[in-house]
Each structure stands twice: as structure tokens, then as C-alpha cells.
């Protein structure tokens, strides 16, 4: 008999081998994860140092093969600016691949934090239903009715523009979602037979809640997490875009789009377009994964 509460690794693989969409999502997400680890070191230029080349356009498509050959054979004095440079002389390519260190880490840590707190509170609120947990749910309702973007902006701007504060702000706005999801699942699980059986065997309520109900109630929150990570990246980038996110010269996609925004009216598209493609694909990748997990869960 299969155990319903463990997420089998086979479940994560595409059911049909030709599910190209799922393959695309996995490819994108794993690339971003790898870049979050090695990105800041593998770029041709230091992502936080300017070069003397200001507002240099990227090579045209026809130049790329020749340039690539010359670069590989080592006949170039300096590596080419594959995606051009921005108005301050930063190499766009090095920054685009260094940015996952900022964006993905913020999104992952913030989600991990809110998942931890949210699942814990959701378990308590779902398992022990009394006046105190009812009050907690009302507080959670109020938190959830905050306008997300503006709340995050207020928290970061007033607490100080640092990575830590962005993580805390994001965790704050996402926690109520996990509380609600876990609570609902706990409430539906705790009336099932296996809980009754555990109780009959003489387990204490606390150990039933933690060892039996909790593992069976995690799935909705975990599925939600893969969608929320994508949205956390969007939120981080949006905060930087309006000047309430990470400080320059931190390589961060939203900040890069924002620095390029003034030039785009003048036709200098590359400082904004390349980081934007990176965000667009990354968030889409997480959305695809989240959707696949959701469907797998609904089917079982």
C-alpha cells in the first residue's frame, strides 16, 4: 500500500515523456538554481564593477559567431559584452547571470520562513480550535487584507533597504497564505480514521498533531510554495524598480530594469530587456512547476 503523505520522487517526473512544457519548467528552474550558486563567479566581468565602456550595444546576431570564435581562441584583449553595457558601464550579461544569487535567495529564504511559521501556526489553529486560535485567524485575516505590494514597500522602506528586510517583508505578506492552507488541510485530516487509530493506540494529542496530522497536511502548502517563489521574485524586482528594494550596485533583475528604464525611451533597449527576459522566464518556470504539482496532487 502506498503511503499518501510522502511525496515520491517519481511523482515529480513528467508522466508522459513528451511533456515539453514540464521539461521547459524544470530546465529553467534548474538553470536559475545553478546560477544562484555559481552565477557571480562565472561571468566575464565583475558584476559590481563598472567598465570604461558606457552604453555599449550588444553585438548584432551576425557578429556573434565570429566574436565567439575570437573569444574562444583567445585573440581578444577583453571578453565581449554579450548583452552590452548600461549607462554606468556595467556589463549586462555578467549582472544578469549574477542576479539569481540575489533574487532567488531572497525568494527562497522568504518562502522558507513563511512556510515554517505558517505551517506551524496553521497546524495549531486547525488542530486546537478555541478562542485563542480563532483570534489568531482573525489577525491572519487582517494581515491578508493588506495590499501586498504597498505593505512590502512600507516594510522595506521604513525598516531600511537591505536584503534581510526584504526577506522579512516578503515572509510577512506570505505567511497568512500558508496559515490558511495548512489550517484547512489539518481540519480535514484530523477527523480521518488514522487519527482515531493513533489515539486508540494511546498517542498523546501533541504527538498525533505533529507525527500524524502534520505530514499529511503539508502538500497544499508545498505546492503553493512553488508558485509563491515565482511571485516573490516578481515582488523583489518590483520593489527595486520603485526604489524600495536592494541598493545599487547589487546585481538584481528589477534594479537593472529600473536603471535601464530612462534609456529605453531613447532607444537603448538592452540594459532593461535582458534582465526582463530572465525574470519573465524564471517566474514562468516556477508557475509551470507549481501547476504540474497541483495537477498531480488533484489527480491522486
Amino acid at each position: 500500500m502506498s503511503r499518501p503523505h510522502t511525496l515520491d520522487t517519481a511523482d515529480l517526473l513528467p508522466r508522459r515523456r513528451r511533456d515539453w512544457l514540464f521539461a521547459l519548467g524544470v530546465t529553467i528552474v534548474s538553470t536559475v538554481v545553478v546560477l544562484a550558486i555559481v552565477g557571480p563567479y562565472v561571468g566575464p566581468y565583475d558584476p559590481t564593477m563598472t567598465t570604461p565602456n558606457v552604453s555599449m550595444p550588444p553585438p548584432s546576431l551576425s557578429e556573434i559567431p565570429g566574436l565567439f570564435g575570437a573569444w574562444v581562441s583567445g585573440s581578444l584583449e577583453a571578453p565581449p559584452h554579450w548583452m552590452g553595457t548600461d549607462a554606468s558601464g556595467f556589463d549586462v550579461f555578467s549582472r544578469v547571470i549574477a542576479a539569481p544569487r540575489t533574487d532567488l535567495v531572497i525568494a527562497l529564504v522568504a518562502n522558507g520562513l513563511s512556510l515554517l511559521v505558517g505551517v506551524f501556526l496553521g497546524l495549531i489553529a486547525g488542530y486546537y480550535r478555541n478562542a485563542a486560535t480563532e483570534l489568531m485567524m482573525r489577525v491572519s485575516d487582517v494581515m491578508q487584507s493588506f495590499p501586498v505590494f504597498i505593505s512590502a514597500m512600507v516594510l522595506v522602506a521604513l525598516a531600511g533597504r537591505s536584503t534581510t528586510n526584504i526577506v522579512i517583508a516578503l515572509a510577512f505578506v506570505y505567511t497568512p497564505i500558508y496559515v490558511r492552507l495548512t489550517r484547512a488541510e489539518v481540519m480535514s485530516q484530523k477527523v480521518r480514521g488514522f487519527v482515531e487509530a493513533a489515539r486508540a493506540l494511546g498517542n498523546t494529542e501533541l504527538s498525533i498533531a505533529i507525527r500524524h496530522v502534520l505530514p499529511n497536511s503539508l502538500t497544499p502548502a508545498l505546492i503553493q510554495a512553488s508558485v509563491t517563489i515565482g511571485f516573490a521574485i516578481l515582488l523583489t524586482a518590483g520593489l527595486s524598480f520603485v526604489g524600495a528594494g536592494v541598493r545599487p550596485p547589487t546585481p538584481e533583475w528589477g534594479l537593472m530594469i529600473s536603471t535601464g528604464a530612462n534609456q529605453i525611451i531613447l532607444g537603448e533597449w538592452w540594459p532593461s530587456v535582458f534582465p526582463g527576459i530572465a525574470i519573465s522566464l524564471t517566474v514562468f518556470g516556477f508557475a509551470v512547476l507549481g501547476n504540474a504539482l497541483e495537477r498531480r496532487y488533484d489527480a491522486s
Binding site: F146, P147, V154, L158, A159, G276
Partner: protein
């Protein structure tokens, strides 16, 4: 029964607003920011600092400040109970009047975006649901997943590059009208409606022209979740017994699709309401790309200037509008489907 339901929903909403008001008040004061030194500058003398603190009222105990803000001390300053949102620490004018200027801009933008998004997304979602499993359905599904997960500020910039810089068919992203035009008298605050009231057709067209790219940007992002929702609800409705019966009775396909759509739209109302409330604050980024000067941009400047009364007011007003929209949609839903109210 419906009346009791309305009263209950209203009471819950009101309690939620009161909770939110108090939470926001304390939350922003818990954070380690010093609005006084932001206002008088880092190098101000201690006397000037104390003077400014006294003027803003932040030298008083927190609970006294809260009492004034809520309106329990109308002799000091009018508060929420008197219908006043306070005075901006930066501009010195009443926040009620500032919000009355900025809010209609956002409502106009969001409403037009919703109309466009619904007009495009409902037929596409229906089309996907009516041809389940096909290539087109898969395409519709991938599009909705993609559009719903995009950075709208980047798409806005991309559209500016494409339609303003390259093609030259859109105006520069510098506001609601070109700098040379004078706006019509503000009656409603909605540029398009005010222009019609003033009878200035050219300004009306110009306002629409300036709204074109921001509305397309937001409608693109919105179309994702709306298509997904219509497609899902429509697919569910098509599997229900009444559709089976209608098909057995030999009704034409178009008419069956119309019946199914009506059944699919009722549960979609709630999500549209949530999206609308979400977009009121989600419009921040689009507004700032196109310099429209709506409530979102107002909130950015309030936040960056540590203008506490303005921050409180923005959060309160946006949440209040969202709650009213949810309530209204729930009432419509309850009117369509009386089971809800029981």
C-alpha cells in the same frame, strides 16, 4: 435572510477595517525609521528637531496619537470619526483631498484594463474549454500560465520601446495628457469622463491615447488568471447534467455554450473581485512606468518620504475599496444563487 447576510458581511468587513487601521498604525511606528529627521534633515539642530516633532505630534505618547488619528480628540485635530484622514507631513494639505485627486486615475486605469481583459479573455477561455485536450486548448493554457506570471513593469517598458520609440504610434510615457494640453475641469477626476463633460472631444481622444499602452500592459497581465478561471469553470459547467440534457435535447452548440458560460461566470465573480482589489495596489508599477500619477505613485512618494498619515490613508482606502467590491460581488452572487445566503 438576505438582509441578515448583508448585515453580517458588513459587520465583519467593518471589524476587519478597524483591525487593519490599528495594525497599520502600530506597525509603521514599530519600524526603525525616523520621519522627523527625514523631514528636517540629518544636520538639523536639536531645537529644530524638537520643534518639528512637536508640529507632527510625534512627541506625544503613542496611544494619544492613535486617539487623535481615530478621531476621539476632535479638539486637537479631526480624525477618522470626523471623516478626516489627516494632513500630509510633506505637503501640508489634507490627505482626503490628495486621495480624491490620485485615486480616480487608478480606478480609471484598472477599470478600463478589466474591461479590455474580460473582452479578450472570456472568449479565449471559452474557446479553450469548448475544445478540450486539443492543440489550441493547450496553447490557451500555456498562454494563461505565462501571462499570469509576468513582470508588468518590464512589459510596459517593452511596449514603450516598441510602440513609442520604434513605431511612433503611442505617446511618450509622460502622463495622462501631453504636456502641451490643458486638462478639463476636474469633476469626477476621471480624465476621459471629465473631457466628455467639458465637451472636449480632442482631449477625450488624447486621454484614451495616453491610456492605451498602460491599459494594454495591465490587461495582458490580467488576461492570464481570467482565462485560466473561465476555462476551468466553463469546463466544469460543460460536464454538468444540464449541459448533457441540453445536448440530448438537440439544442444548437452555440446556445449550449451560452448556457454553460452563464453557469461558469457566477463562481468567477468572486475571483474577479479579488483581482480588482489586488490590482488597485498592483497598478503601482504600471503607473510609475507611464508616470500616470495615481494612488500607487502617491503611495511610493509617501513611503519614500516617511509620510505616515499618507501611508496609513493609502492602505486604509485601498483595503476599504477592496472590501466594498468583495461585498458587492458577494451580494450579486447571492442574488444569482440564493443558496449562498443560507
Amino acid at each position: 435572510m438576505l438582509f441578515r447576510y448583508i448585515a453580517k458581511r458588513f459587520a465583519v468587513g467593518l471589524l476587519q477595517l478597524i483591525g487593519l487601521t490599528i495594525a497599520v498604525f502600530f506597525l509603521i511606528r514599530l519600524l526603525p525609521a525616523d520621519p522627523v529627521s527625514r523631514l528636517v534633515g540629518m544636520n538639523a539642530s536639536p531645537e529644530a528637531y524638537a520643534q518639528a516633532a512637536k508640529q507632527l505630534g510625534v512627541d506625544r505618547p503613542l496611544l494619544a496619537q492613535l486617539a487623535t488619528y481615530l478621531g476621539f480628540q476632535p479638539d486637537i485635530a479631526p480624525g477618522l470619526l470626523q471623516g478626516s484622514l489627516g494632513v500630509s507631513w510633506v505637503t501640508g494639505s489634507t490627505i482626503t483631498s490628495e486621495i480624491a485627486t490620485y485615486l480616480p486615475v487608478t480606478i480609471e486605469l484598472v477599470t478600463l484594463s478589466f474591461i479590455l481583459a474580460l473582452a479578450v479573455a472570456v472568449p479565449i477561455g471559452m474557446f479553450g474549454a469548448l475544445n478540450p485536450g486539443g492543440k489550441a486548448d493547450k496553447g490557451v493554457f500555456v498562454y494563461s500560465l505565462f501571462a499570469g506570471s509576468q513582470p508588468e513593469f518590464w512589459w510596459g517598458l517593452l511596449f514603450v520601446y516598441l510602440f513609442f520609440f520604434t513605431l511612433g504610434i503611442a505617446p511618450a510615457p509622460l502622463g495622462r495628457l501631453s504636456p502641451m494640453s490643458s486638462p478639463p475641469d476636474a469633476v469626477t477626476g476621471f480624465m476621459t469622463i471629465d473631457a466628455l463633460i467639458a465637451g472636449q472631444l480632442d482631449i477625450f481622444v488624447e486621454a484614451l491615447h495616453h491610456l492605451m499602452l498602460p491599459v494594454i500592459t495591465m490587461a495582458f497581465i490580467l488576461s492570464g488568471p481570467i482565462i485560466k478561471m473561465v476555462r476551468q469553470n466553463m469546463a466544469r459547467a460543460l460536464q454538468s447534467d444540464f449541459v448533457l440534457y441540453a445536448n440530448c435535447a438537440g439544442l444548437p452548440k452555440e446556445r449550449v455554450a451560452r448556457y454553460a458560460l452563464r453557469a461558469a461566470m457566477a463562481p468567477s465573480m468572486t475571483l474577479i473581485g479579488i483581482l480588482y482589489g489586488f490590482m488597485l495596489s498592483g497598478a503601482v508599477l504600471t503607473e510609475s512606468v507611464f508616470a500616470l500619477g495615481g494612488i500607487g505613485q502617491y503611495s511610493i512618494s509617501a513611503v519614500l518620504a516617511y509620510d505616515y498619515p499618507a501611508i496609513q490613508a493609502v492602505v486604509l482606502v485601498i483595503t476599504a475599496i477592496s472590501l466594498v467590491v468583495y461585498l458587492a460581488l458577494d451580494l450579486i452572487h447571492a442574488a444569482i444563487d440564493p443558496r449562498i445566503a443560507f
